[in-house]
Structures are given as C-alpha cells and as structure tokens.
C-alpha cells in the first residue's frame, strides 16, 4: 500500500499520542492526527479544542475547531474564557499540537508576520490564536509542519509562541511551566530537542528519506542524533483509518 509524505507525517503524529492523554488540538493536520490516534491505538484519547469542547468524540473529521459535531459529542462544552483559564492555563493538558509558518532551531514558532518589519510585513499571517499559551502551558508540545528551508529558519521573524527560547533554562527563566516542544514531526522525519542544549536534532527519518534531504530542507546546519532511526511505514490499518477519516480514497504516489 503506497502513501504520501503527508500521510506518513500524520501517522507519525498520531503514533506520538498515548491513550488517556489530554490533547489540545488545532484544526488541520493536528486534528487529523489526533482523530486518527483515537480511531486506532488510543481510543480513550481526550480531545480538547479551544472552542470549548472537552472530550469531543467526532465520528467524522471536524472541518473547523467550532464544528457542531465537537459540541454534540463532547463530555463538556465550556466558554472560551473558561477553556483558557480553567483548563489550559493550570497545566491540565498533556499535549499541545501546533503548526508553524516558521520554526527555528529551538522550536520557537512564528505564525504572525514574515519579514523584518512588523508594521510593514512581507506577508501578514493569521497571528497567535491560542498558540502562545498552548506552547506555554501544555506539559509538552508537538509541532506538526512540512519541512522546508522557507519554514525551518535559523531565526524566526517573529516569536509568536516560545519553544526553547534561546536554549537551556530559558523556559524556566521566563516562568513557562510546560515542557515546550518535545517533538517536531515533519513530512521528512522527526526532530527532537537535544537533552543538553535544546537545539532540535534529527532523530528519525521517514522511509525513503535521506539525511541529506532533511539537511537540505533545513535553514540551519541540522545536526543528526547519534542514532537516526527509520520511522515505521504506515501500516495498512493506519492508512485505511486515515483515509476513512479524511474521506479521500484517492492518494498520490509518494515521490
């Protein structure tokens, strides 16, 4: 069964979620991965959406964070202030799933502006949303993002959400209580912060991806972990569940 790089990325992200985990989910790839995990190995995964739905159990992929199916199937629906104040801020959520327009070597994230001048940006992006506080307060953060030199930059143009700041101890100094990015899952492989200096290093490559490809798609001199493992290819059951979720029977050949 063949699969696309995006499917590999989504499957890898789903696998990173364990059963019982409380997961703060954004729409798009994170939501697909979290729902896939719930359909496969982690049926008791707790999906929390910033729209206020706690323990949503959608039978189809929600198309927005405020999809009616989330409210209808949730254990509880709370107001948005309550979601941020009572549930996210005190550290009740295990995993925050984030995307990024830019990501730097310490896992800091930009979703605000591209360009040096905030007042006159080259590209105006949507902005912060819930991300800064998700990045601050979840026990750990998983970033799901396609890897390219445009995205994986030496220094983000704007720090929307703090990863490991500029290195060890920075999160503690800032008073951020969550652990920050633990995994960055891309269409090429997986990056994890070095235990000592917190710089993201390549720890996994997806099947068929070379280290050179990953290095070439990274805007800083990407370090490889002492052992770089190969991700297990998507299993047929995983692919079937994913495609049932996304409703796409068609799929591209992986190039």
């Amino acid at each position: 069964m063949s699969w696309t790089a995006d499917e590999m990325m989504t499957v890898a992200a789903a696998r990173a979620l364990r059963g019982g985990t409380r997961c703060f989910v954004g729409i798009g790839l994170p939501s697909t991965a979290a729902n896939l995990a719930r359909r496969t190995h982690a049926p008791d995964l707790v999906l929390v959406y910033e729209s206020g739905t706690i323990g949503a159990k959608p039978d189809r992929l929600p198309l927005s964070i405020g999809d009616g199916v989330l409210a209808e199937t949730a254990d509880a629906v709370v107001s948005v202030p309550e979601m941020f104040n009572y549930w996210l801020q005190p550290g009740r959520i295990d995993v925050g799933f984030l995307g990024a327009a830019q990501l730097d070597r310490f896992g800091n994230i930009n979703t605000t502006v591209i360009g040096d001048d905030y007042a006159d940006p080259r590209v105006r992006l949507p902005g912060a949303g819930g991300a800064p506080e998700i990045a601050a307060s979840c026990r750990e953060v998983i970033v799901v993002v396609r890897q390219s030199r445009r995205t994986f930059v030496d220094r983000v143009d704007f720090v929307t959400s703090v990863g490991h700041g500029s290195g060890p101890g920075d999160r503690a100094r800032l008073g951020l209580r969550g652990g920050g990015p633990a995994l960055v899952i891309t269409d090429l492989g997986v990056l994890e912060p070095d235990p000592c200096d917190r710089e993201l290093v390549l720890t996994h490559l997806h099947p068929g991806v070379s280290p050179e490809q990953a290095v070439a798609a990274t805007g800083w001199p990407l370090r490889l972990a002492p052992t770089v493992s190969t991700t297990e290819a998507p299993r047929p059951a995983e692919l079937a569940a994913l495609r049932a979720l996304t409703g796409s029977a068609e799929h591209e050949e992986r190039t």
Binding site: V77, Y118, G127
Partner: protein, 264 residues
C-alpha cells in the same frame, strides 16, 4: 426591545464606534455585519478574537479604522485577503492593528464584563507580541512576587452576537459552542443579539445560556443570520462558502462586485 436589524444597527452603531461582533466559529452575527456595511459606517474600531469572512468584508468595504484581534484567517481555508490587502497595502485604507492572543482577548472581555479595568493571565511571556502591542503589561503578585501579564478590559461601544432564540420580552438563549457570547454582551455599553427565532417562552435546554432581557439592548429576528457560520439546531456550517470566499476575496475587482451585490 425587539426591532428590525436595520433599526437596530441604525440605532446602536455609529461612525467611529468600537464594535465587537463575536461568535467562536458558531453563531457569528454575519447578517448584522452586512447591515453595518449597507448603512455605510466608517471609522470603526472592530474587535473580534477570530476575524474571518465577515470582518474581511467589513475591512474590504472600508468600514474599519482599526482591528483588535487574536487570529485573522479563513478557518480551514487560509488567509483573509481583504485583511492582508489592508495591512500590506493599506487598501482600501490603512488599518491599524492591535494584536493579542486568544487567552488575552478572552480575558479582556472577562475584565470588561466584570467591571474591572484589567485581567491577569499567564500569557505572552517570551513572545514578540508585547514589543508591538501596548496593551500588554507585566504585573506582580502582591503575595508571591511572581510576575504575570495584565491586559486591559475590552468595553466595546457595541457588542453583537447571533443566538438561537429569544422570547418576546427579549430574553435570549443560546447553546452549543458559546465562545465569548456572554462576555461580549456584558462588556459592551450597548448590545444587539440577532436570533433564529422568537418564541413565546424559552424552554430549558442542555448547555443553554440565558441572558435576561435587561442585560441586552436590542434583539432582532434574523433567521439564518449567522450564514456561512451556523446556529446549532437550526443550520449547518456552509464550508463551501468559506472556500468560495477565498476566490472572491483574492481579487479587489471580484470583491467589488460582491460588495455591489450586497449593497445594491
């Protein structure tokens, strides 16, 4: 208490006002936004956590002077092209922005609803937002000495939301994802709620929030008033329209034709 949408907007929304149309994906008062465009309001400070299609429309139509927000995008689709055009090219005019996070905006409404001048949260620390947004400040806990973040209350001149039902006296009821509905109505000097239906008597429903008539300024009966957003129990989100808006809004001319269709 219960008036037409046109009457409500004429009465409540004035040029130069600070106006918040809220609804977190659900129950967005889109029809009210269109009426503001139709009535040609100018110089508005628009406030909204998630400016999406209706704010793209208000901005493109030239109603706004300033935007206070935390996430401006077309959810599930991509960018807001009218918003980007305003920020990047000052078209149809310059747009001042005041940018926050969701947690910050939600707490600003909470402070506004609570009659407090500010709210406290764990937020923004280490990000670049405080360098560009004046309404973010550190605050020290008088008991522990810990530094946290303060944001000022939001108290719009007008707060507008859509809801499922009102009774004839103007008591309002909504359920499903309730977002910051209660907060924006209570934080605002004046408020308008557009509703799917007006009933003789509200019946209790699971998850329903009720705002008593005396906490709301005006109610207008506007069935389908949240389209392309939705009203749980009345309509489904029109996801195709969100896609469709991407095509219309990419191009100033196409947007112009859309605007002409709305206002003519």
């Amino acid at each position: 208490m219960i008036v037409t949408l046109a009457e409500a907007v004429a009465e409540l929304v004035h040029d130069g006002d600070t106006v918040a149309l809220e609804g977190f994906t659900h129950l967005i008062p889109v029809a009210a936004g269109h009426e503001i465009i139709r009535q040609g309001r100018r110089g508005l400070t628009l406030v909204r956590m998630t400016p999406d299609i209706v704010y793209d429309q208000l901005i493109g139509a030239g109603c706004a002077r300033k935007l206070v927000f935390s996430w401006a995008g077309n959810p599930g689709v991509g960018s807001l092209h009218r918003f980007r055009d305003a920020v990047q090219h000052a078209w149809p005019g310059p747009l001042e922005i005041e940018e926050h996070s969701h947690a910050g905006m939600a707490n600003r409404y909470v402070a506004g609803a609570s009659g407090l001048p500010f709210a406290v949260l764990r937020g923004y620390t280490g990000t670049d937002l405080p360098r560009h947004t004046a309404t973010i400040a550190p605050i020290t806990c008088p008991f522990t000495g810990e530094t946290l973040t303060a944001v000022p209350a939001l108290n719009p001149d007008v707060g507008i939301v859509h809801a499922q039902r009102a009774d004839r006296r103007g008591n309002v009821q909504f359920w499903g994802i309730t977002g910051v509905h209660k907060e924006v109505v209570l934080a605002s000097a004046r408020s308008l709620v557009t509703v799917e239906e007006v009933v003789d008597e509200l019946t209790p429903a699971p998850g329903a929030v009720v705002l008593p008539a005396w906490a709301v300024t005006r109610v207008a009966h506007v069935p389908g008033g949240s389209h392309p957003s939705y009203a749980m129990g009345f309509s489904e989100r029109d996801n195709d329209y969100y896609q469709h808006w991407d095509t219309i809004s990419r191009d100033r001319a196409a947007f112009g034709r859309w605007l002409e269709g709305l206002t003519s």
